[in-house]
Symmetry: C2
Subunit: 487 residues, 2 copies
């Protein structure tokens, strides 16, 4: 065995002197994608080894809020009184994924959403048929169902009948991800899956053009794991690899990395090294959060031109996207005395200026005369009629801001407020998780899922909570099944 550890350089199997372990399916990474891949490979009758670099399974899924984007009329949706269809879900996700959408993945994800719900329940995941209807980043207590994207947005709702689709395993507030992973770990423990913690995959092993294993570091030594049928890379994204972020997604550099320390891009690098194409690499979730509570959705975002730029009731990743796109990355929110009591929960946006009138606020804050004040006059005039012809904010959040004093909250990223970010680029895979080269050839023996792959969520602007964990668990399962069936 050589001492090399470059993830981009697969090891030739002929260089392996002895194999530390051998299995049918080798899954690299024990987060949501890896757990589901392992479970399905095991259920298919394959021997499975599940590697994890940390001391226990969990990954970034365990750190997430745990929402899973499911729809088409799940038992939870129906119990809470919501109708949904596969078609509506698919139409919405296509808009959400934007120009980079993988239509084939979206199609199968929606077609099999109810089946995926059932499978999760069969693994022990408990969904609580309670609905939370407020504007929040998650359900604040034990409710399982909530809105998590832009489904009720003007453009989206014209194309697709809205329904809440974020399904959080029963857990308090943001504990959904930890609960989900605890449940999946328990499911894994009921199987023959061999879990190998504290094991870092260094590079893939190749034999005659086929991926046949991974070279790992474990107990200070290099160990080769052989996979007779396939290797599933489920090692997360790359937000923690600052060099990769600077190279591939520089727009995310100033965001607060949201992930586990092991979102280091190693899975993507190993996949590229094996010949895989990396797609959507510049895209990422980047957010700024002005709710809860929903009252701040009654505020008005303006840029340094004093112009509006987004519907303020949108999902926070859309807000973050647009705040970062304004000149100088400057973004402010105008509020009135009726809604301002304290800064929003997640963004301690500070008051930059106050004024008894919009003209006074405009002048005090240094906006050119006639800009902010004209924006607010137009906004208020239409809001009084329950209309927002510019950005189509929902009438639930439309109220003229007419109770002075007025304040300008600073949401610019250079204030240091929370702009969480994670990556949405990864390996190009088929709907069965097979990694493809840039010319579309499949790489025998190699699979990827979760944020190691470019999946259903492709756009920060269109992201909805639950899309990443939904994609990871769903396509993790498919990758595990496909790897188990490979010969």
């Amino acid at each position: 065995m050589t001492g090399r550890t470059d993830p981009c350089t697969p090891l030739d199997a002929r260089e392996v002197e002895d194999w530390f372990a051998e299995t049918d399916v080798l899954v690299v990474g024990y987060g949501g994608a890896g757990a589901c891949a392992a479970l399905e490979a095991d259920a298919s009758g394959a021997d499975v080894v599940l590697l994890e670099v940390a001391s226990a399974g969990g990954g970034t899924t365990a750190l997430s809020g745990g929402q899973i984007y499911l729809g088409g009329g799940t038992p939870i949706q129906r119990a809470c009184g919501f109708e949904d269809t596969r078609e509506a879900m698919e139409a919405y996700i296509r808009i959400a994924a934007g120009a980079n959408a993988d239509l084939e993945k979206i199609r199968v994800y929606c077609e099999e959403s109810l089946t995926h719900f059932d499978w999760l329940v069969a693994q022990g995941v408990v969904f609580n048929p309670e609905y939370y209807g407020g504007k929040h980043t998650n359900t604040p207590e034990y409710q399982s169902l909530c809105w998590s994207g832009n489904e009720k947005g003007w453009r989206e709702s014209q194309a697709a009948k809205p329904a809440p689709r974020a399904h959080k395993p029963k857990a308090f507030w943001e504990d959904g991800g930890a609960t989900l992973m605890a449940t999946l770990r328990a499911a894994v423990e009921r199987t023959r899956i061999r879990v190998e913690p504290d094991t870092r995959a260094l590079t893939l092993i190749r034999e005659n053009g086929r991926i046949v294993g991974a070279l790992c570091r474990r107990d200070g030594a290099q160990r080769a794991f052989r996979a007779r049928r396939g290797v599933v890379l489920a090692c997360g994204g790359f937000i923690m690899n600052r060099d990769m972020v600077a190279k591939y997604a520089p727009r995310l550099v100033d965001g607060a990395p949201l992930g586990s320390p092991h979102d280091d891009g190693s899975g993507i690098l190993m996949g590229i090294g094996a010949g895989g194409a990396a797609l959507n690499m510049s895209e990422g979730f980047v957010s700024v959060i002005w709710y809860p509570d929903g009252v701040f959705c009654e505020g008005v975002f303006v840029n340094e031109q004093g112009q509006r730029f987004v519907n303020e009731d949108c999902y926070h990743a859309r807000g973050g996207h647009h705040c970062l796109n304004q000149t100088g990355r400057k973004a402010y929110m105008v509020v009135d005395d009726a809604i301002y009591t304290k800064p929003p929960l997640y963004s301690a946006a500070e008051v930059r200026e106050v004024g008894e009138s919009f003209e006074e606020l405009e002048q005090a804050a240094g906006f050119p005369a006639g800009t902010l004040s004209a924006t607010m006059a137009t906004y208020n005039r239409f809001a009084a009629k329950g209309e927002d012809p510019l950005f189509h904010k929902h009438r639930d959040f439309l109220r003229p801001l007419d109770r002075p004093p007025y304040a300008l909250l600073d949401f610019s990223i250079d204030t240091g407020i929370f702009y969480p970010a994670f990556t949405l680029g990864g390996l190009d895979t088929t709907i069965d998780g097979e990694v493809r080269t840039p010319t579309g050839e499949r790489i025998p023996g190699l699979y990827a899922a979760g944020r190691t792959a470019a999946g259903v969520p492709r756009s920060g602007e269109g992201y909805a909570s639950g899309m990443s964990v939904g994609d990871a668990t769903f396509f993790g399962r498919r990758a595990g099944r496909a790897a188990a069936a490979a010969r």
Copy 2:
């Protein structure tokens, strides 16, 4: 020899039964980058074979306007009365390249700009010391020097003293690129460089981890070319490969592909197949053009919210970038009777509405009341003072639009007007053209230049004419020298 032709799968040298030709440096692609790589490799004493898929050299450079971004006080700049410094040029290009900038490439490009000018002249390139100061896409006659970017823009000019830096070889109007390539072809013909036209590179050939040649198709047969020192990929970008554009740069899909038919991404794919990282793949030049003549820079761009979004005197790629970023990709220009005679030369933007007042125009065109009219009132009020506090248009183009009737020209991409596009993503290379893996390892024997590489121009929003041909010729030379020196 096998029949395979996947560019992403390098051929093992052991599979080569006989070599059709052998040389020191093999240059793939006879555009600006390839010609310069070949010339410098030859000048270094290496044997050079220069492959071209078409029947003659020229490539996309020959189709371009031929501007070369040079500065720091070139003889042409000085003859025309302009001062410039390396520092100013570097500061400007750093802003232009944006977040994705390769600072090392920018540094050496600026440091050696005068040397590059001299080298081009030594090859026979003639620059005509005449300056054209108008707002145009190129010099309209035989002048060699003009402004070609956002140097005089507010933000840029604060950071870097402006100077015109587009240097067009002496030629009429847009004939600069054809003239440049005719000159470089003549230079090549004076050397020992062996040009092989009608030869398509299919895939690279690898031996013990080193790139040692390329398998090509020629006269209907597969032919292996061996390179003792290095292979330089100079095969252009990928705007003509619609599958790659959809995968990597979907934002450019609806643009009019600007390039030669051979900008098919084959060089990038071959480089990826050999282990090279591809960077900046989602970025591209995309433009909409509202000048000449400059009078339309006195117009006011508005989006469907009736808001301004850009300084209308900016370079056309910045305009195209922002027009595409507006909601619904809708963009309009407000003009008055003083400037509107016929549509701009390159964009036959049609009149969508006319009105005797801005209120009438607003209503007729369906803008919400108080939007377009407020925008224009503010614009005119400041323009009368020679100010544009919102977007800082230069005072040369600031004039109140006060001569009715007013018209709204439709610049939206869905009108079918000209939105030319080309790609700015490619292989990650060192300043010597060495192709790097995603972890930064050099791939022995492999070099890239021109739009096959991710070079100095990285951002459509910040692009200036001459940056791509400048980068291609400059880093083509460096790649050729480095390959010739490799052992």
